[in-house]
C-alpha cells in the first residue's frame, strides 16, 4: 500500500494485452485502498474509480456532470473550439434538462417496443445469413453480419436510408478511432452532421409516423418544441451508438462462444439461456467504458478520497465488471452466472438508451447464427485477429469465419 501522494499516475487509457481481459493495470488500480489518479493523453490528470460499488455510486450521482464542455472534464484528446461549443446532446446533459429530453425519446426503446421488432430483426438476420452462405467461404463475419444487422435495424428504426450505409458506417468508424488525432474525427462528425441535417430537412415537409425521426418531428411540433439542431444531435447519437456497439458485441460474442464450445452447446440446447448468455458477454467484454467519464461539480467524497469541484473522474466499467467483490470468479465467462448488476451499459440516468434493442439483436443473432451455421469456425489463429485497441468502442476489425 502506498500513500496516494506517492503513487504513480499511470497513463490512461490503458490497452488490453489479452483482448478478452481488461488492461492488467486495472487490477492494480482496483487493489489500491483508494481511488487513484491517472494521466490523460492531454497531459491532464483524472481520477479513476474501479470498484463496482464506487463506479455505480458515482454514475448515479448527478453532482458528477456529463457535460464535456466543462473545464476539468476528462477528455482524451485536445479538441477544437467548435467541438466544445457544439451541443453535446443527450449524453452530455445534466438535470434538470436531461430527464425530460430522455423521456421524450426513451418510449421508442421500451422492452415491449423492442419485442415488437423481433420478427423484423429475425428477417434481417436471416437475410444476411442467407447472403453470407451464398457467398464465398470463408467470409468476414464483421462485413457479412455483425455490422450490417445493427446498421439496417437502426436505419429502419430512425428512417435513415440504408442505401447510404457505406457513408455512415465509415464515418462512424472514423469518429470513434482515436489513433489519428482529432482532425479526422471532427471531419467525420461534420460530414455525418451535414448528412443528417439534410435528411431531417427533407423529412420536415411531410414527416412519417413510420419512423422515429418522423415521429419526433410530429410530436415536437404538436408540443411547440421542435428544434432541428437537437433532433440532428439525437439522430447522430442513435445512429452512431446503433452501429459500433452491437456490431462489436456480435463479433466478440461469436469468438467467445466458439472458444467455449460447452457453453455454446448449452445455449443451443436451451434457447432460454441465450439472454442470460448475452448479459454475461456484455459484462465480460465491457466494450464502451469511456462513457463513464464525468466531472465533479462540487467537492465529493468517494472511493476514500475527496474529489474537488472541477476535477475529472472516470468510472472504469470494465474494472467494475471484473470486481471480485461483485462477481465471483470474475475473469471467467459463465453464461449461467445470472449477474444482471454489471455496468456494461453504464449506470445512473445515462444508462444506455438502446440497451433493450441491443439485447434483442444479440439474442436473435446468436440463436440464429449457431442454429443455421452449426459448423461455423474462426478461420484464423486467435492471436492473428486484429482488435480495435485505439477506438472508443472495443472490438475486432475483421473476423474470418468458415463453415
Amino acid at each position: 500500500m502506498t500513500e496516494l501522494a506517492d503513487r504513480p499516475t499511470p497513463d490512461f487509457p490503458m490497452k488490453r494485452t489479452c483482448p478478452f481481459d481488461p488492461p492488467p493495470g486495472y487490477q492494480e488500480l482496483r487493489d489500491q485502498p483508494t481511488a487513484s489518479r491517472v494521466t490523460l493523453p492531454t497531459g491532464k490528470q483524472s481520477w479513476v474509480l474501479t470498484k463496482h460499488t464506487e463506479v455505480r455510486s458515482m454514475l448515479a450521482d448527478t453532482r458528477f456532470s456529463s457535460d464535456r464542455r466543462l473545464p476539468g472534464f476528462p477528455l482524451l484528446t485536445e479538441t477544437s473550439k467548435k467541438f466544445m461549443e457544439a451541443d453535446p446532446g443527450l449524453i452530455g446533459m445534466d438535470p434538470p434538462d436531461h430527464g425530460p429530453a430522455r423521456r421524450a425519446v426513451v418510449g421508442e426503446f421500451t422492452v415491449k417496443r423492442m419485442q415488437a421488432l423481433q420478427p423484423r430483426i429475425q428477417e434481417i438476420v436471416d437475410t444476411f445469413i442467407d447472403e453470407m452462405l451464398a457467398g464465398p467461404n470463408p467470409a468476414d463475419l464483421v462485413e457479412a453480419l455483425a455490422l450490417p444487422v445493427p446498421s439496417l435495424v437502426i436505419c429502419e428504426l430512425l428512417g435513415v436510408p440504408y442505401a447510404d450505409h457505406e457513408f455512415f458506417q465509415s464515418r462512424s468508424a472514423k469518429l470513434l478511432n482515436t489513433a489519428d488525432g482529432i482532425e479526422p474525427r471532427e471531419k467525420a462528425a461534420d460530414e455525418l452532421e451535414a448528412y443528417l441535417t439534410d435528411l431531417i430537412m427533407a423529412k420536415e415537409p411531410s414527416p412519417s409516423e413510420e419512423d422515429l425521426l418522423g415521429r419526433q418531428i410530429i410530436k415536437q411540433r404538436e408540443e411547440g418544441t421542435y428544434d432541428r439542431k437537437a433532433l440532428v444531435s439525437l439522430a447522430f447519437l442513435l445512429l452512431l451508438a446503433g452501429h459500433e456497439t452491437t456490431a462489436n458485441m456480435i463479433s466478440l460474442g461469436t469468438i467467445a462462444f466458439l472458444r467455449n464450445p460447452e457453453q455454446l452447446a448449452a445455449v443451443k440446447a436451451d434457447p432460454g439461456k441465450t439472454l442470460p448468455a448475452v448479459e454475461e458477454l456484455l459484462r465480460y467484454f465491457t466494450i464502451a467504458e469511456l462513457a463513464g467519464s464525468r466531472v465533479a461539480t462540487e467537492d465529493i467524497e468517494i472511493g476514500g478520497v475527496l474529489i474537488r469541484a472541477g476535477e475529472g473522474v472516470i468510472g472504469l466499467a470494465h474494472a467494475a465488471n471484473r470486481d471480485p467483490n461483485a462477481f465471483a470468479d470474475p475473469d471467467s465467462l459463465d453464461i449461467d452466472r445470472g449477474a444482471r448488476h454489471h455496468v456494461a451499459f453504464g449506470y445512473g440516468p445515462h444508462q444506455c438508451l438502446g440497451q433493450n434493442l441491443a439485447r434483442m439483436e444479440l439474442q436473435i443473432v446468436f440463436d440464429t447464427l449457431f442454429r443455421r451455421v452449426p459448423t461455423l469456425r474462426v478461420e484464423a489463429e486467435f492471436d492473428e485477429l486484429s482488435f480495435k485497441d485505439s477506438t472508443i468502442i472495443f472490438g475486432v476489425r475483421e473476423l474470418p469465419v468458415a463453415w
Binding site: 448515479a60 423521456r103 421524450a104 426513451v106 418510449g107 421500451t110 422492452v111
Partner: protein
Amino acid sequence: MVKDMRINADRDVCVGAGQCVLTDDAIFDQDDAEGTVVVLSEHVDGEALEHARTAVDICPSGALSLSDD
C-alpha cells in the same frame, strides 16, 4: 403469514431503461409514451418480492424502492 412489501416508483426519476420489466414483466411495465415505469403489482411477497429486490438493485436511476406499508 409472510409479510408483503410495497413497491414505490418515482416516475420523475425513472429514465426508462426497462431493467425492471426485464426482471419481471408481471410486476413492471413501461409507459408507452415516456417509457417510464408502471407498477402492475404494488404489493409483492415470496418470489415476486425477490424479483422486486433485484429490480430495485439494478435500476440505474434509483427510481424504485420497497417499503413496509
